[in-house]
């Protein structure tokens, strides 16, 4: 120990850890070669992990599996694509879970899945998820890939939302609604349990009772069963101050309005926060739980440190009123969803039309809302989906048809990846990174790097074209990359049907697509540009 202390003094006295290495020294270091990883190492490790029961996530696996299929049951989430700065969103979701019997539950997975997803049986989805409207942005990708309705949990879904200038509301699976204040950003994966990753900002959540639902933040995790609560994250540059002037460098504030939540800080220590309470935690810990009213009154961020207690309490009252308004709005969304159908869990709308083929009336409404609804095969996986023999048999497909379908799916995957890669390189100029990134990661970066409002303008144009209000563009090459990407995705459903029609016949291809309400993944993207009529309508509500 003494020696370490001496060393420490010597090291610090000697400058910045002895000075950084020179270029020549780095070259020498690079010359220190090591053997390659032995062939088959990864497979051996996974095998050993399976044998040793080392794989983690036993809790979630138990949650995700149905019945005795727990050991083999698995499910996949789909990657979330980041929302753009103005609240655009994208999501793709897929699920694959075998529930064909308590003992025989074989697992299917996304990516290079062993079993088919595109044509597998659909869950009879109830329309529980809140619908979006106006600029409301919801990533809702239904899990269409479930074998049977029996025993199936909520369809897998994922998505993300980010709010720049306006509040954004997002449905998180069927149980949760998040109201994201400007500056907030989150993504989520619903797959048995629901995991929300809140990266920034102020988000109000309402969660119906059900399975595990947790919100992960850089400062801790909020675990929920059914409740209303709010999570505010602050940056290190922005401090909250106590009324008395004592600084509380709060990094996270969790306010609970109904029910209770469990907050686990970075060290894993858990604390229960009940309705009416508010938890504040600093970046280095220092967790405090107090009455919500009192705690909120402590926060003088907007009013200034000289604000009176009455002013602070008044602000708190206003916040509570806003929460009530938000809850009413959520209720309206859910009522609308129940009444109109066609939600992310439905295969058909109330008029009996397939989910992916809205009526002219709906298309006109979508045009007002700058909403584009589309289905697509699971092309966002790193590897193409391949239809397995069991699913093919269930779908009544011959082996020759299965092989032909797999060729089509592989070709679509390849073409989509190539186009996405080109767009990515066009935007970033980084071809080498394109080879390293997954399709989801490229799509996410494409969105992040697109100009403000481009995604919303694309939504608006595509929605209007679909409603027959404007003609499609004559030259796609002139469009912004993000618009070309959204058009590429939005056209994939029809393209898939067209390609499959060539190998199994038009009627059969349509039948398969309708049976599921679309191919594998379903997505809606919405949000008008800030100067669009849709945005004004929303702002007026």
């Amino acid at each position: 120990m003494k020696k370490e202390k001496d060393d420490q003094r010597g090291g610090e006295a000697g400058g910045a850890a002895g000075g950084e290495l020179s270029a020549e020294e780095r070259e020498a270091l690079a010359a220190w070669e090591v053997p390659e990883v032995p062939e088959g190492f990864a497979a051996r490790v996974v095998e050993a992990a399976a044998g040793a029961g080392a794989a983690s996530g036993s809790a979630t696996a138990a949650e995700s599996a149905t019945g005795a299929a727990a050991a083999a049951g698995t499910a996949t989430g789909a990657a979330a694509a980041a929302g753009t700065a103005t609240g655009a969103e994208s999501a793709a979701g897929t699920a694959a879970e075998s529930t064909t019997g308590a003992a025989a539950g074989t697992a299917t997975a996304a990516g290079a899945a062993a079993e088919p997803d595109v044509l597998a049986g659909a869950a009879a989805g109830r329309s529980g998820a809140a619908r979006r409207w106006g600029i409301v942005v919801v990533a809702a990708a239904a899990g269409l890939l479930l074998w049977q309705a029996r025993g199936i949990r909520e369809p897998a879904a994922s998505g993300s939302a980010a709010a720049a200038g306006e509040r954004v509301t997002a449905a998180i699976g069927r149980r949760g609604v998040a109201v994201v204040e400007p500056g907030g950003a989150l993504s989520w994966i619903v797959d048995g349990d629901t995991v929300v990753t809140q990266a920034a900002g102020d988000v109000f959540y309402r969660v119906d009772r059900g399975g595990p639902f947790r919100v992960e933040t850089p400062h801790g995790t909020v675990r929920v069963t059914g409740t209303c609560f709010r999570v505010e994250l602050t940056t290190m540059k922005r401090h909250w101050h106590a009324l008395a002037g004592a600084a509380i460098g709060a990094a996270i504030v969790v306010t609970v309005y109904e029910g209770s939540v469990i907050f686990a800080d970075k060290s894993g220590e858990e604390r229960e926060v009940r309705a009416g309470q508010e938890l504040t935690a600093g970046p280095e810990g220092g967790v405090r739980i107090g009455e919500a009213g009192e705690a909120v009154a402590d926060l003088t961020q907007e009013l200034g440190e000289d604000a009176s207690r009455e002013e602070l309490l008044a602000r708190h009252q206003a916040q509570r009123a806003e929460i009530l308004a938000l809850r009413r709005r959520v209720a309206e969304l859910e009522a609308g969803s129940a009444g109109r159908g066609g939600g992310p869990g439905d295969t058909h709308d109330p008029g009996g039309r397939p989910w992916f083929d809205p009526s002219q009336e709906d298309l006109a409404r979508f045009a007002e809302e700058c909403r584009v609804r589309y289905d697509l095969p699971p092309v966002m996986s790193t590897e193409p989906f391949q239809l397995g023999p069991r699913a093919a048999e269930q779908a009544g497909l011959s082996e020759a048809e299965r092989a032909a379908i797999n060729r089509v799916l592989a070709a679509l995957h390849r073409e989509h990846l190539a186009e996405l890669r080109e767009l990515y390189i066009e935007v970033t100029g980084d071809a080498s990174r394109a080879d390293d990134l997954s399709p989801q990661a490229m799509a996410s970066e494409l969105r992040d790097k697109s100009a403000l409002g481009d995604a919303e303008r694309a939504n608006q144009k595509i929605a209007r074209e679909r409603a027959g209000l404007i003609p499609p563009p004559a030259d796609l090459s002139l469009l912004p990359p993000i618009e070309r990407y959204l058009r590429l995705q939005a056209a994939l459903g029809d393209l898939t049907e067209e390609r499959l029609a060539e190998v199994i016949g038009r009627g059969r291809a349509r039948e398969l697509r309708e049976k599921r309400g679309g191919w594998g993944w379903r997505n809606e993207q919405a949000g008008c540009p800030s100067d669009a009529p849709g945005a004004e309508v929303e702002a007026a509500r």
Binding site: G18, A28, G57, A78, S438
Partner: protein, 220 residues
């Protein structure tokens, strides 16, 4: 947003560190979030993807830590590392304090240090240099490079395990001082002092090599 991007947003310093002076290795993208989530649920293909993504740095760290005579233990320790990762992966928070790569390398470095300490306690010597260390006279570039690498390996291999780990985690794997401090369970000042000693040892070794080469040149 993948895990790395999310982390960078949450911790801008992490992104800056990738290009910081003194960081030898460019940080590769972390495993994407979806695959990570699937691995956390124990899905075999995702677990395999995780291993494939991180096996090279883990092997490199272990091989360099252990030296040539203990290299046969590298695969065992790498496997132990990943099994430990899978056991705890469910609790790994993508937006937590550590990157996935940092966390995995932390586990690997601790395994290596434990192994070296066990070896030393058992009286087994750890080879300080690569087998190729005695071939500096050959003039071709490949041999020169091999000699250079061997000299570096010898210099770093002569350091105590904790110093060696600090040096490799910093100079090869690009970890920040604070990350290394957490990994090795020492304070940042100690990390700096270890780095200082390691760099000094490296410089001495390279200076010796240069002197030897110069001497041979004079003899001709």
């Amino acid at each position: 947003m993948n895990v790395a991007e999310a982390r960078d947003e949450a911790d801008p310093g992490a992104r800056a560190a990738a290009g910081a002076p003194g960081v030898a290795a460019r940080r590769e993208p972390e495993l994407d979030e979806v695959t990570l989530r699937r691995a956390q649920r124990g899905e075999p293909d995702a677990c395999r993807a995780l291993v494939e993504r991180y096996q090279r740095p883990v092997f490199a760290l272990l091989c360099r830590m252990l030296g040539p005579t203990r290299r046969d233990r590298a695969e065992d320790l790498a496997q132990e590392t990943f099994l430990a990762v899978f056991r705890s992966l469910g609790g790994f928070a993508p937006l937590g304090a550590a990157r996935l790569s940092t966390w995995i390398l932390t586990i690997a470095s601790r395994r290596a240090i434990d192994e070296l300490r066990r070896s030393e306690a058992a009286g087994r010597s750890v080879a300080l240099a690569e087998d190729t260390a005695e071939s500096p006279a050959r003039a071709d570039e490949g041999a020169r490079r091999a000699a250079l690498g061997a000299r570096v390996a010898g210099a770093v291999g002569a350091l105590p395990a904790g110093h060696r780990a600090a040096f490799l985690l910093r100079e090869v794997h690009g970890m920040e001082y604070a990350e290394i401090a957490r990994a090795l369970e020492v304070d940042v000042g100690t990390v700096k002092s270890r780095l200082s000693r390691a760099r000094a040892a490296l410089r001495v070794a390279l200076a010796d090599l240069a002197a030897e080469e110069s001497g041979r040149g004079d003899d001709r």
